[in-house]
């Protein structure tokens, strides 16, 4: 029986930045494979390159060299438009500072990714959004605005938004970084529950407790995977 194809496959991936002092190598020859349904924590000191790695995996940034396969597709050869589609339909993002649009209601915030998906008609937006809000326990807050919610609630809305397109992978950048311990626990439990339901989870965190609750922990030091 052949091994399953990894959902995410990085091969000799490198990232360098140009600065006044010369070229700065942030990531060097990263080899990483993430299978479907896995939960992976990426840890490392500040400046180790973990956020950069997550950005590349989430198609927000480009690698300087190497190969990146997502859902068996070589993304480095794709056009800007094609990577947008991948980002919209295959990846869900959860950010440290939630990044909700304050002038939109909770429901409209959750609906946002659907607006860029031509395969979904407008008449389905509301139902799909409410379904996700129910999943995170906030269906009664659909018409509220982000500044009317607590930090934990905002992060749950952000998770609902990330899930609405039924992505293959959920990318989380310090998801509990701005939360107190009680809310952090709630969010961690929610994310792990989603992972148990089959959603691949990849998160960057400083929280070793959180990291250890993931199936795999990857440590990055000086731009390389230890």
């Amino acid at each position: 029986m052949s091994e399953p194809i990894p959902l995410i496959q990085l091969t000799s991936l490198s990232k360098t930045f140009n600065s006044k002092a010369g070229q700065l190598s942030v990531l060097r020859d990263i080899d990483l494979a993430v299978n479907r349904g896995e939960s992976v924590a990426i840890v490392g000191k500040s400046g180790s390159g973990k956020s950069t790695l997550l950005s590349i995996i989430g198609l927000l940034d480009d690698a300087s060299s190497g190969a990146y396969h997502l859902c068996d597709t070589e993304v480095t050869t794709l056009s800007h438009y094609q990577t947008s589609i991948l980002r919209n339909q295959n990846i869900g993002w959860v950010f440290q500072n939630f990044n909700l649009v304050s002038s939109l209601t909770v429901q409209k915030n959750v609906e946002m990714p659907l607006r860029y998906n031509k395969n979904i008609s407008k008449s389905d937006y509301q139902n799909m959004a409410l379904t996700q809000l129910k999943l995170v326990g906030l269906e009664d807050k659909a018409q509220s605005y982000p500044d009317q919610l607590s930090g934990g609630q905002q992060q749950r809305v952000a998770i609902a938004r990330a899930l609405i397109s039924n992505p293959d992978v959920l990318l989380c950048d310090e998801p509990t970084g701005n939360l107190d311990s009680e809310n952090s626990d709630q969010i961690i439990n929610l994310l792990l529950k989603l992972n148990q339901n089959g959603t691949t989870l990849l998160m960057v965190t400083h929280d070793m407790n959180l990291a250890q609750r993931c199936r795999r922990v990857i440590e990055i030091k000086d731009g390389t995977v230890i």
Binding site: S55, L60, S84, N99, M112, Y116
Partner: protein
């Protein structure tokens, strides 16, 4: 799409005043752009639409400032001898009362010679023009509701029929409507000046050299400068031979067919000034609008980056942003359209427009629409430009960065240029206002006289009662030109027995003996007006002698250049009369007695101390209503207001534009600073977190902005000082006036300080934690 529009509308609802102001500003700018482009386009027409000749044409004219009454002119046959002239035609223009079908009408007449239509080129269907005749235009027919059949005009003592009617396409020649085309030989019939038994030899000779324009066709190697010099030298040579004809003229050669070449030059000059003002206005407006949009873009940086993360392609985001702008763009279009229509309507009916741009300029609705749409596209482009910049650079790693050094430098340059242009605009307006205020402050005219103008409509002389000329009627006085008018000193005089004195230029009026007493004019040295003696004004006296004691000029004699045999004696010196207002009357004037004029053939001006019944005036002048026309000029104050209306009107418009620019600057600086601060917010937050005091931060930033202003102020002061003489020559305005310069600087600094303080104070109220939070 509807969601995007709603979203955009909601965003703008939060800042209604700001957007309302910008919408109005854009609307008015669009309107002004439409007007300027329309005028420029209409001025670019260099020949009538019906002219088929495509060779290069020039119009030869004079710079005579419409002094037809003084008969300074010479026919331009000299133009024919200019090298490379391949065709030549003379024509003359007149606007006067002519009887058409027995009724008096004021018409514009073009007198053509045999080469006129050939030179311009007409179709075969108009071959009748070769045979000569009187041609009427469609414009005349519509205006007077004439039928084509049997329309006759009275020329002198005979009646002649209009032989042909031109179609509508002949209605416009350059920027004037011509009513009638008459053969050139009729010109002297309708031009009765200086004929009759009492006319002097000079006047009769001048009548044989009437006032013409020339139209010349040239080949490719034609050099207009050489041609102008050749014609000028030939005219000057003739002037030297016939000194008594006073043949001082300045020949001008204007490209194209232009009935009044000097007017086209003047119009072009005015249009250039207007265009410069519009460009400056555009720059300030564009900069302000860009600043506002850039600030908005930075506010939405996070949102745009988020949408990028959620999978929105740049094209889709741009489309959504464009849709969000639809409400605003629609408002701009509507305001622009309404503004353009009302401004055009106002301009077309205003005195300024009538004076500077003539009565009829063809407007093109397609050009109108094109300019309006171009403005709309410009607004759209500028709206989306900052957003586009963010979208292109919206990768997460880059969004954390602030402005690059290059962007910062561009921002500083934009800021500095905006300050500089605003300083110029405000100084221009304030200098005009200050100059006008100086004029008006002392412009109190202490004259309670009513003006009347009487015009002859045929070539018979006015019969003026001698009692009026001698001043025996204490209630009224007479002059040959209006009391209130702008004067142009063109008469050359020279004192006798004074070989060192230069030839002095002066203007002249002939008046009745009681002219000064009725007007309560104040004498410096009293004198009596009589044939052979003159009264001069203070301005002329100061030009004639550098001595402060003007009394030494009394009884001095002088000659006038075009009449060297006649000697005049200075009998008295009067204080400057307010011919164009007190402060605009420093024009040298000499006043001669009307007794020696004999008959007058055109118009006379009567000033009465109290209201005088019209029929009484006409009866005493032996006129009947049939062939004499009386026009009330009103009292002197009213006449001055009418005379200076265009100047004041222009000033008002200038002040309004300056005020608008000032307000726009304040708003623009406010949002430009906001954009700059948003880009530096992490640094600012850090400074506050490290213990810098709020007020220290504000002062530091303020000083930085003021230092940028200082550079602009230095450039402004230097440029104003260097350009003073050019502005004086170009538009007669002294822009180097300390009160206006200082006020401009103070206003602009106030604007910058106010906007900066407001923005900085608002920004520093934010939570440090928020300021330190990275963007997505």
């Amino acid at each position: 799409m509807w969601q995007d529009i709603q979203f955009g509308w909601r965003c703008w609802q939060h800042q209604r005043l700001r957007w309302l102001f910008l919408v109005i500003a854009w609307g008015i700018f669009s309107a002004l752009a439409v007007i300027v482009v329309q005028l420029a386009w209409s001025l670019s027409d260099d020949r009538p639409k019906w002219a088929n000749n495509t060779s290069t044409l020039y119009t030869v004219g004079y710079s005579l400032q419409q002094q037809l009454m003084t008969a300074k002119g010479i026919h331009l046959d000299t133009a024919q001898s200019t090298p490379r002239v391949t065709g030549y035609s003379k024509y003359a223009l007149m606007s006067q009362q002519i009887k058409i079908n027995g009724s008096e009408h004021k018409v514009s007449v073009l007198f053509y010679d045999s080469a006129f239509f050939d030179l311009l080129g007409v179709d075969e269907q108009f071959a009748f023009v070769d045979q000569g005749g009187i041609f009427g235009t469609n414009y005349l027919r519509d205006r007077l509701n004439l039928t084509s059949a049997n329309t006759t005009i009275t020329l002198g003592k005979s009646q002649s029929p209009i032989t042909h009617w031109f179609p509508k396409e002949f209605d416009s020649l350059s920027n004037k409507f011509i009513d009638l085309y008459l053969p050139l030989e009729f010109f002297s019939t309708l031009n009765p000046f200086f004929t009759g038994a009492n006319a002097t030899e000079t006047q009769v000779m001048l009548n044989s050299l009437p006032f013409y324009f020339g139209l010349i066709a040239v080949d490719e190697q034609f050099n207009p400068d050489v041609a102008t010099a050749t014609m000028q030298s030939q005219v000057d040579e003739l002037g030297n031979i016939q000194v008594n004809l006073n043949l001082d003229t300045n020949i001008s050669l204007v490209g194209g067919v232009e009935l009044f070449p000097q007017q086209r030059q003047e119009l072009t000059r005015q249009l250039i000034i207007l265009s410069i003002i519009l460009i400056a206005f555009a720059f300030v407006l564009f900069s302000n609008y860009f600043s506002v949009m850039a600030a908005m873009a930075l506010t939405r940086k996070q949102e745009l980056s988020l949408k990028f993360a959620l999978g929105a392609p740049n094209q889709v985001q741009l489309l959504h942003l464009f849709r969000e702008n639809i409400p605003m763009l629609s408002l701009v279009f509507i305001v622009g359209l309404l503004s353009a229509l009302s401004i055009q309507n106002f301009l077309l009916n205003s005195d300024i427009y009538q004076k500077y741009f003539g009565e009829n300029i063809p407007f093109s609705w397609s050009l109108w629409a094109a300019v309006l749409i171009s403005c709309l596209l410009a607004i759209t482009f500028i709206s989306l430009l900052p957003m586009l910049n963010l979208l292109v650079n919206s990768h997460f790693s880059r969004t954390k960065a602030g402005l690059s050094k290059r962007q910062q430098q561009l921002n500083y340059l934009q800021f500095g240029t905006q300050i500089l242009l605003t300083l110029f605009a405000i100084n221009f307006a304030l200098a005009s206002a200050y100059q006008e205020w100086l004029n008006q402050r002392t412009d109190t005219v202490d004259m309670t006289v009513q003006g009347h103008k009487i015009t002859r409509t045929d070539n018979r002389a006015f019969s003026i009662p001698s009692a009026w000329l001698l001043g025996q009627n204490k209630q009224l006085t007479v002059s040959d030109s209006p009391l209130i008018k702008k004067h142009f000193p063109e008469l050359k005089i020279q004192l006798l027995g004074d070989t060192e004195s230069d030839t002095i230029f002066t203007d002249k009026m002939s008046v009745a003996n009681n002219f000064f007493s009725l007007l309560n004019a104040k004498f410096i040295h009293s004198g009596v007006l009589s044939p052979g003696s003159v009264i001069i004004n203070q301005a002329l006296a100061k030009n004639l002698t550098s001595n402060t004691d003007l009394s030494q000029l009394i009884n001095k004699q002088f000659t006038v250049e075009n009449d060297p045999e006649q000697i005049f004696t200075i009998a008295g010196i009067v204080e400057n009369l307010p011919h164009a207002g007190v402060n605009l009357s420093e024009v040298p004037m000499l006043y001669t007695s009307m007794q020696q004029l004999g008959a007058l053939h055109a118009e006379i001006y009567i000033y009465t101390a109290s209201s005088w019944p019209d029929n009484n005036l006409l009866a005493q002048l032996d006129l009947t209503n049939e062939w004499g026309k009386l026009e009330q000029l009103g009292d002197v104050e009213q006449q001055l207001i009418e005379l200076n209306k265009s100047r004041r009107g222009l000033l008002l418009i200038t002040l309004q534009i300056a005020l608008f620019i000032f307000v726009m600057l304040t708003i623009g600086v406010l949002y430009q600073l906001k954009a700059m601060l948003m880009a530096e917010q992490r640094t600012l937050g850090l400074q506050l977190a490290l213990g810098q005091h709020k007020s220290q931060l504000i002062i530091h930033k303020l000083l930085h902005k003021l230092s940028l202003c200082l550079i602009s102020i230095v450039i402004f002061i230097s440029a104003s000082w260097l350009c003073t003489s050019s502005f004086k020559e170009l538009i007669g305005l002294d822009i180097w006036q300390i009160p206006s310069i200082l006020t401009s600087i103070v206003l602009v600094l106030f604007s910058v300080v106010f906007a900066s303080t407001l923005t900085l104070k608002t920004s520093t109220k934010k939570n440090i934690q928020q300021l330190l939070t990275a963007a997505v």
